[in-house]
Each structure stands twice: as C-alpha cells, then as structure tokens.
C-alpha cells in the first residue's frame, strides 16, 4: 500500500513533469533554432515572424494529438467497425444494423431511452426552475439550494446504492427498512420489490437521475433569473399582472434560451446514462438502455465489437443535432464578440 502511494505520487510528478518539460523544452528549442541572426550581408535578421508561425502549434499540438487519438479517430473507427464482424476483421455490410432493428433487447433499450429523454430533462428542469424561484424568496434560500445541489457531487453508483436502499424490499411479513415500502405499509398497502415491476421500474431509475440533475438545472436557472431586469417585472405588476402571470408571461420568455441550454445538457447526460441502470438492475426487468446494452456487447461472450459499435452510433446520431446547434450558437457568439 505504501508502495502504491509512492507510485501514485511519482506518477503525478512524472505526468505533470513530462507535460511541463514538453512545453518548456519545445519553446526553448524554438527560441534557439529560430533565434535572430545575421543575414549573409551582415545586417540584422529578425526571425520573430517565423517563431510566431510555429509557436501556436507548439501550444496546441499536445491537445490536438490527444483529441485526435481519443475522440476524433474513435468516432470514425466506431463508424467503420459497425460494418464489421464481432472481431472487427470481416466486412459484414449492414448485418449488424439488421440485427439491431430486429433485436427485442435493442428495441426495448430504444423505448426506454425515449422514456428517459421524455421525462428526465423535463422534470429536472421544471423542479430546478421551481427551486430557483422559491429559494430567491426565502431567507434560507442559499442553504436550500446548497442541499439540493449536493447530489451533483455524488457518483451515479453511490446514488444507486442510496436509492436502492430507499426502494428496499424485505418480504411481506418482515419489517420494511426501505422508506418507500415502509410508507406503503403504513398506508395499508402491500410491500413490493419495486425495481422488478416492469415498465414502472424505469421511472424509479429515472428519479435517481432527476435527483442528481435538478441541482444543475437550479444553479444555471437561478443565475438566469437574477439576470431578468427588475423593470420588466415591475412594469407588468403595475399593469395588474399577478405573480403567476408575471412568471409565465414575463420571466419564462426572458430565460427561455437558458432553459434550452439546461434541457439539452441534461439530454446529453440522459443519452449516456449507464451506471444507474448497471448498478440498479443491470438491464433486467425491462430496464435496459442503450449505453448499458453497448457495454454488455463489448464484453459479452468475448465481446461483439460490431454490434457494440452500432449501438454507440445510435447514441452518437442522437447527439448530432445538439452538436450542430451548439456549434451554431458558438459561431453566433463569436460573430458578436
């Protein structure tokens, strides 16, 4: 154990040291090799233009190489592998795709992902907006926000343990130690193993992600709410608008773009949801989702990279509209700078 701590410390020093050595070394080298000199006729030669052409690339090179290897190349490679067999050696045309659209497990995953997409971003954004609005009106608002924000720091697996305990089931005659079943029993109902109840168990898993993401929505929307000009609200109030009317007619339209950003950000999280399903049910009882399915195919029976790639591509294709929207938004902002 001591050895490992030492190794970890060494790794930190080595990793950071190597990065620093590259940046210092390469810039020093550039300054040496492209130092100012004398022309053959003896006059002063500034090589600053040359240095200015090369130096940016020294700065961005490591980032570009890593992005290329870890993100750009894999996207292309995954697309290619989706047309190949389980080992990625034999070209099989569209047969992985044909398999997917006929496979009940895949279709179930698609259905569940659609459910998640429908409910999780909407609920998280709505509750986040509600909390942001309410917390601005009470003295203890910051404490409330801090507590609702807290699950953001908790891992999906940790959250799964927390909620599995909430949903715990002990058998009909034993005392229930899960909060949900205890409440059910107190109200005179029958305790159940809720996460095994098909279809509805999907919602129990979604609650976990809503629990985590609401804090995110709240923080972003809270900042947006503070940016709403006071005059617009006062003007509406003078015109006799009630608080609810002011909220829906004046406030919401002004923060609509932020709501969209929050919505899409959570949408991306939802598309990738994996840990919660793996830890809670591993896709059993009709709870499978794409990312979980993809992980299973990566390793199942030695792994089927072709099918895994098809599933990954489906997630990617779902993200592309958001990606395009993001880039457009970025370019608009750049144009305004």
């Amino acid at each position: 154990m001591t050895q490992q701590v030492l190794m970890a410390l060494l790794a930190v020093v080595a990793g950071v040291g190597a990065s620093l050595a590259y940046f210092f070394g390469s810039n020093l080298l550039l300054d040496r090799l492209a130092a100012d000199g004398r022309k053959p006729d003896g006059s002063y030669l500034s090589r600053e233009p040359l240095r200015n052409v090369i130096r940016p690339w020294l700065f961005v090179l490591p980032a570009l190489v890593i992005l290329g290897v870890y993100l750009v190349y894999p996207v292309v490679e995954t697309a290619r592998l989706s047309f190949f067999d389980r080992n990625g050696t034999q070209f099989v045309g569209l047969s992985n795709y044909a398999w997917a659209i006929q496979n009940p497990e895949f279709l179930e995953a698609i259905r569940n992902n659609l459910l998640w997409l429908l409910f999780v971003p909407a609920l998280s954004t709505a509750v986040g907006l509600l909390v942001a609005t309410l917390a601005d009106r009470v003295a203890w608002g910051n404490i409330a926000k801090s507590l609702i924000f807290m699950p953001m720091a908790i891992s999906f697996v940790g959250a799964s343990v927390i909620w599995k305990f909430v949903y715990d089931f002990r058998g009909p005659d034993a005392p229930q130690i899960g909060v949900v079943n205890a409440i059910v029993v107190a109200l005179g109902g029958e305790p159940q193993a809720w996460i095994t109840v098909p279809f509805w168990n999907n919602f129990l898993l979604m609650i976990i992600l809503v629990w985590i993401q609401t804090g995110f929505a709240m923080v972003i929307l809270s900042a947006a709410l503070r940016g709403v000009p006071e005059e617009t609200i006062e003007a509406a109030q003078i015109d006799g608008a009630g608080e609810v009317q002011v909220f829906f007619r004046i406030v919401i339209p002004q923060i609509m773009s932020t709501i969209l950003v929050v919505w899409t950000t959570i949408t991306i999280v939802v598309l990738k949801v994996f840990d919660i399903v793996l830890a809670m049910t591993n896709g059993q009882w009709g709870t499978n989702v794409l990312a979980n399915s993809m992980y299973n195919w990566m390793f199942r029976g030695g792994g089927d990279f072709g099918r895994g790639s098809v599933i990954a591509l489906v997630i990617m294709i779902a993200v592309i509209p958001i990606m395009v929207w993001n880039i457009r938004r970025f370019q608009r902002e750049e144009a305004m700078r």
């Binding site: 701590v5 620093l20 309410l134 009106r137 807290m150 799964s160």
Partner: protein
C-alpha cells in the same frame, strides 16, 4: 403574493413558498441521511428496523437458558439459581414468558410459579429462581423475553468494509487515478486555450469549432476503438493493456474539450491591454503565458479542476473498460458495484462503503462550491 407590501410578510403565499421548499429539500436530503445513519447503526438492528427508528430503542425477541441444578446455591434454607441474560447494562427486558408464544405474559420483576418453585426475571436481565426443594434438572430451562435495545452507533461497519472488502485499497487506487487525470489535462488545455484566444494561426476558428463539437461526443463512441488500440499496444509491446497511464490519458482526452472551452473563454476575456503591453516589452507568448496568464487564470483553472476531479472520481464506465478489477487497480465506484452484486443484502457493508466513496467528493464540493458553480455557469450559459 404580497411579499413586497411592508408589514404583511406572513401570507398564505409566503407560507406555501416555505412549505414547498421545505418539502423539496426533505425529499432531496432524506435518502442521503438514511444512508449515513444506517452506516453507523448496529448491523443486527439495521435489518430489523428502519433507519428512521434509529434514535429510539428497538425491541427484539430472544430467549435465555437458566443455569442447571449444579448452579444452585443454598441461601437461608432455600435453593436459588441466579444469572444474567443481558450482561450489556443498556439492554433491558420489557416482558417475558415461559413459552415462545407467551412473550408478553409477564412484566419484568413479576414472579411466576414453575411447579413448586418461583421464577422472576428482572428488568436489567438478571433472574432469580428459588425453590424450597433442591433443583434436580440437568439442562437449564428456556425463558422467552422481549429485550429493549437502546440505539447504538459505532464505526464497526466502516472497519469491516475497509479491511474486509478491500475498500481501503480502492480508496488509494481512486486517488491514483484521479489526481494525475485532473492535473494533466489542465496544463495541456491551458496552453491550447491561450493559443486559441490570443495567437494567430491558420485554421484557428474551425479547429476551435471542432473542440466545441467534441464537447458532446458520447464516451461510448470512444470505448471500442480505444479498447482495441490498448489491447493491440499491449500485445505488440508485451506490456499490460490495463494500466494507470492508459486511464490517465483516456480521462485527459475525454476532459480536454471542456477544459479547452472553459479556459479559452476565460483567457479570451482577459483585457487585451495586458497582453499587448507585455508584447511591447518584448515578451514572447510563452513568457506572457507563464508569467501573466497562468496566475490570472487561477479561478478558471480551479473551476475546471473541480469538475474533472468529481467526474474522474465518480466515473465507473472508463474504469471498467480501461482498468482491471484486481486489488491493485479497482476503484471505489467499481468495488461498490461489485458489492451491490455480491453483498446486495448486507446493508451495513453497502451503506458504509457508499459513504466512503462519496465523502471525498462531498468535501470537495462543499468547500469549493463557489468555483464549481462558476465553472458550471461559464460552461453552459454563454461563451464569454
């Protein structure tokens, strides 16, 4: 509704605001509270009573066996067998009976006739069995009782999970993954961000647009090609394919787009005068970056560092794919997931294990919340 009218602060509207917020806060915190309280409870109590009863005494049925005839002593012409069913002074008897079906037949201290003899079980768990005639039984008699067990809290579960379930190793492994995987991308991204913000080179605009696009590329797209690549490298050079170096680089790659994006927006927002006047003084971009930009960017660097730290610490997928499950490589999230499979009903193990895995991120989160929020806002609301 009338919150802005002076003197009329308590209205139904205000009350509703407070009540709804309290309700949401309770819903949000109770699950964590349940986990924390349960992790400190006695593991036998944990499975028979809900954690919300943790602060009240729990009742448990049990039986004790009296001493046999050889334990009797003669006191003033009477034969007496004495003993103690509950040596723990904090546990008490609430009722007892001679039959299992009769647990509540007698109050503690109440004498019961057994044949010619007389038996009494006292509240503190001691009993006294007296008879005029000498006892002859060779096996002790069973007495059934309900014991009241006061709430007990201890760190026993933590000790068990740390030493018995190799969570202590996983803790160190997680740090081994997290710290380099947080620091390396910061440095690389900071240089790139400066170049994107203040240096001129062909393709700058569209390269950065690609970075923005990469922000949302799902991790799943990278897994299979990288796994194949790592396996190939391992096979070709005869090195292990699952290494810490491998996962540091993977996390660096996945974290870079956000790092470059955040830092570029921050660095790009620094006043132009600073950089131009330094250039007039003859400083190169490298010197400007090291001496001027890095110190000024500390808030943005901190924001990203917290993001990346939490993300890497809490990650399960990347660790499952790029690290082994042996003692020397398993991380907290991964071992917690294994525990859910193998010890799914041992809530004393699960709750304490989960709490160990979330305590570090919670501490980071609560102490550096301001930077975290700043990063979130910069990362998603606007670019600048």
């Amino acid at each position: 509704m009338t919150a802005r009218v002076p003197g009329m602060t308590i209205t139904w509207g205000r009350l509703l605001t407070h009540a709804s917020l309290v309700l949401i806060v309770v819903l949000w915190t109770v699950p964590v509270l349940g986990l924390f309280i349960s992790s400190l409870r006695d593991k036998d109590q944990l499975i028979v009573s809900g954690w919300w009863t943790a602060f009240t005494a729990t009742e448990r049925t049990a039986f004790g066996r009296t001493g046999a005839a050889n334990a009797q002593v003669e006191v003033l012409g009477k034969f007496v067998i004495e003993g103690d069913f509950l040596p723990d002074p904090r546990r008490t008897v609430t009722s007892y009976g001679l039959q299992q079906t009769d647990l509540t037949a007698h109050a503690p201290g109440e004498a019961v006739a057994i044949g010619d003899s007389e038996f009494t079980l006292f509240e503190d768990g001691t009993y006294r069995w007296t008879s005029e005639e000498p006892f002859t039984h060779s096996a002790g008699r069973r007495i059934f009782y309900v014991a009241s067990i006061p709430p007990t809290f201890s760190l026993a579960n933590y000790r068990e999970v740390l030493s018995g379930e190799r969570i202590d190793r996983a803790f160190i492994n997680t740090f081994t993954v997290t710290i380099p995987a947080t620091l390396i991308p910061i440095l690389i991204a900071a240089f790139a961000a400066y170049a994107f913000a203040w240096m001129k080179f062909p393709g700058r605009q569209w390269l950065f647009a690609i970075v923005v696009g990469l922000l949302v590329v799902p991790l799943q797209m990278s897994l299979i090609p990288l796994l194949r690549m790592y396996n190939d490298i391992g096979a070709t050079f005869g090195v292990p394919s699952k290494t810490y170096l491998g996962i540091w680089l993977a996390h660096t790659g996945f974290g870079l787009p956000l790092a470059i994006y955040l830092l570029r927006n921050y660095i790009g927002g620094l006043p132009r005068d600073i950089i131009e006047s330094a250039q007039l003084d003859g400083a190169s971009h490298f010197e400007i970056f090291i001496r001027l930009i890095l110190p000024l960017s500390v808030p943005a660097l901190a924001s990203f560092a917290i993001f990346q730290f939490l993300w890497v610490w809490n990650d399960l997928l990347v660790a499952l794919v790029f690290l082994g499950k042996g003692d020397d490589q398993i991380v907290l999230t991964s071992s917690l997931r294994e525990l859910l499979g193998s010890r799914g009903d041992n809530w004393e193990i699960l709750t304490s294990g989960a709490f160990i895995s979330i305590i570090v991120p919670l501490m980071v989160f609560f102490s550096l919340q301001r930077y975290f929020v700043r990063g979130l806002l910069a990362g998603s609301v606007k670019g600048g």
